[in-house]
């Protein structure tokens, strides 16, 4: 256990269209514990994905530091270890599949690490089992559904023995069934395998499943806490252009109409219990 990712005064700037500097992240200080399930929410352009790309050194801070398992991401020596420790799953399932057969795709990462074939076979089998895709091991990935493709991508990270998985809107392009599959898989690897999850999403109902929610706006962290604590701030989140879980929204409307309700209602069940004790 302990801290797996830490940032100190992390800033990131890039050159914009007319060569002017654009600050995408400013003064990000955060600490993510091993085994935590952290959701990051924020509007488009709030810096979520830019921040996530620092977690496995795809981007390096302009100033400040980012540490993965105490290794500074700026230190090139540790790049391989960092990339192995922190796996990434992106939004578009079609952009991250490299092989023509599912099990070969999952084996791609460990093969690149130079692991012995017997060990690779074992890891691939384990990984596919965890994400529930064993039956599809011989299938062509492009014929799978979106949710299945994302689960294959997750298996790829598991086969690398990554201890932390960063998922950048992994369900944005999926249908409701695919969304459920991916979210359940993510929860499972977090609970059963103890893998740290950093989950970027626009879907507040998905973010409810996290241990901790981080809210970003214009390149800074504006709120951080348990889902109950973050999502009960209905008007604040709406002012940022975000949604809130339906139950929290209805609870706030009820409070506005003089109904006395506890402050932290975020799920349907909590709302029902509060109204019908």
């Amino acid at each position: 256990m302990g801290e797996i990712i830490k940032t100190e005064q992390l800033c990131y700037e890039y050159r914009g269209a007319e060569e002017q500097r654009v600050r995408a992240l400013s003064d990000i200080n955060l600490s993510i514990q091993a085994g935590e399930f952290v959701a990051i929410i924020g509007t488009n352009g709030s810096g979520k994905s830019t921040l996530a790309k620092h977690f496995n050194a795809l981007l390096l801070p302009t100033s400040g530091n980012c540490y993965v398992n105490s290794f500074n991401t700026c230190d090139e020596k540790h790049l391989w270890v960092i990339r192995q420790d922190v796996g990434m799953v992106f939004q578009n399932p079609d952009n991250q599949i490299v092989a023509t057969i599912v099990e070969e795709d999952v084996a791609f990462g460990p093969e690149n690490l130079g692991i012995a074939p017997m060990e690779i076979a074992k890891r691939v089998e384990e990984a596919l089992q965890i994400v529930g895709m064993t039956d599809y091991r011989q299938h062509a990935p492009h014929l799978l559904s979106g949710g299945q493709k994302q689960r294959v991508a997750i298996a790829g990270a598991l086969a690398m023995h990554s201890r932390c998985l960063v998922l950048d809107e992994p369900t944005a392009m999926l249908d409701p069934r695919g969304r459920k599959e991916v979210l359940q898989t993510v929860k499972k690897i977090n609970k059963e395998e103890g893998i740290t999850i950093i989950y970027i999403t626009h879907d507040m109902e998905e973010a409810l499943h996290a241990d901790k929610v981080i809210v970003m706006n214009q390149g800074t962290i504006v709120q951080e806490g348990s889902p109950a604590c973050v999502f009960s701030q209905v008007s604040f989140l709406k002012s940022l252009g975000l949604d809130v879980p339906l139950a929290a929204d209805v609870a706030q409307e009820l409070r506005n109409r003089g109904i006395k309700l506890p402050q932290q209602i975020i799920t349907d069940e909590e709302l029902v219990v509060a109204l019908c004790p």
């Binding site: 269209a17 924020g42 509007t43 488009n44 352009g45 939004q91 559904s145 979106g146 809107e169 944005a172 392009m173 999926l174 249908d175 409701p176 069934r177 695919g178 626009h202 109902e205 252009g241 975000l242 949604d243 339906l246 139950a247 929204d249 209805v250 706030q252 409307e253 009820l254 506005n256 109409r257 003089g258 109904i259 349907d268 069940e269 709302l271 029902v272 109204l275 019908c276």
Partner: protein
């Protein structure tokens, strides 16, 4: 006046080992002015279906008519008829290609053969509909703008051809909640202002509930349900579930509250209306005691 499909069947890769029936015996009619939602899980045939509406796919069996013109029969007339149907694909921003926003949106109207003056009027109008400021962005490169703005440009390019039937395939995918709300309120305004038909293909039940006047549910290449959204969501939940479609969250919340004994009457399906209805029900309950 309508888009009409009669006994339409479509088979992918016919005559090969990969042959797969994507649509089976579809009969339906989309009338002018309707706002139709088409839902169904991935692979249910939604996109294949809408690609028949403007002749992008030719049915393997059956026929498609736009305003009584059979797309298979009359080549020239069919070409004119297809122009009445505008299609916004998934992730339409990937199809932007011109150097300026203006040129990109003008591409469609120019292909129809409009005059330059008319083209500019169309472009301005389309940009206004999707909430893009003409003076600020018309001469910029579309590739310098944000994803949400690029999406709007792509939609404006189709709107500028003034289609009588506008098809949108997942127009809000990948946008944040604010972007999604904005796009949908603009589509709604457009629908009201022009009175044209809108056909919306989506996974998002909440959006369908707020917008559509009619809902078509697809499963395994067939139309399994076709009715008003409220009717479907309240009365056909089992069929929706077997089609792999979720009931909107707000409806399941209302059901939970009702089964917990709060006697909520009819209400509109948004958080505020639900809250009002709950207050009403609680007051009545107190009164009765």
């Amino acid at each position: 006046m309508s888009i009409r499909l009669e006994n339409v069947t479509y088979t992918y890769m016919q005559g090969t080992p990969y042959e797969r029936v994507a649509l089976q015996n579809i009969n339906l009619e989309i009338k002018p002015g309707e706002f139709v939602g088409i839902i169904g899980h991935t692979g249910s045939g939604k996109s294949t279906l809408v690609q028949h509406f403007n002749g992008l796919l030719k049915p393997s069996g059956g026929n498609v008519r736009i305003d009584d013109i059979d797309l298979q029969q009359n080549k020239n007339a069919a070409k004119q008829a297809k122009k009445k149907v505008g299609m916004v694909f998934q992730y339409p921003e990937h199809q932007l290609f011109e150097e300026t926003v203006f040129a990109d949106i003008a591409f469609g109207p120019r292909n129809i053969g409009l005059s330059e003056a008319e083209i500019e009027i169309r472009v301005r109008k389309a940009m206004q509909f999707v909430g893009l400021e003409y003076d600020a962005v018309a001469n910029r490169s579309p590739f310098q703008l944000s994803g949400g703005q690029m999406r709007r440009i792509a939609i404006a390019g189709v709107i500028a051809t003034e289609p009588e039937y506008l098809i949108l395939d997942e127009p809000s995918a990948g946008l944040d909640p604010r972007g999604r709300r904005e796009i949908f309120s603009q589509i709604k305004e457009l629908h009201i202002a022009t009175g044209n038909s809108v056909i919306l293909v989506t996974h998002n039940m909440e959006d369908v509930l707020q917008l559509a006047t009619r809902l078509i549910v697809m499963d395994s290449g067939q139309v399994v349900l076709d009715d008003r959204p409220e009717t479907l969501f309240w009365n056909h939940q089992d069929q929706l579930q077997s089609a792999g479609v979720d009931v909107p969250h707000i409806i399941s919340l209302l059901q939970k509250l009702r089964s917990a004994g709060i006697n909520i009457g009819e209400c509109q399906l948004n958080a505020e209306s639900v809250a009002v209805a709950v207050c009403e029900a609680l007051r009545r309950q107190k009164h009765d005691q």
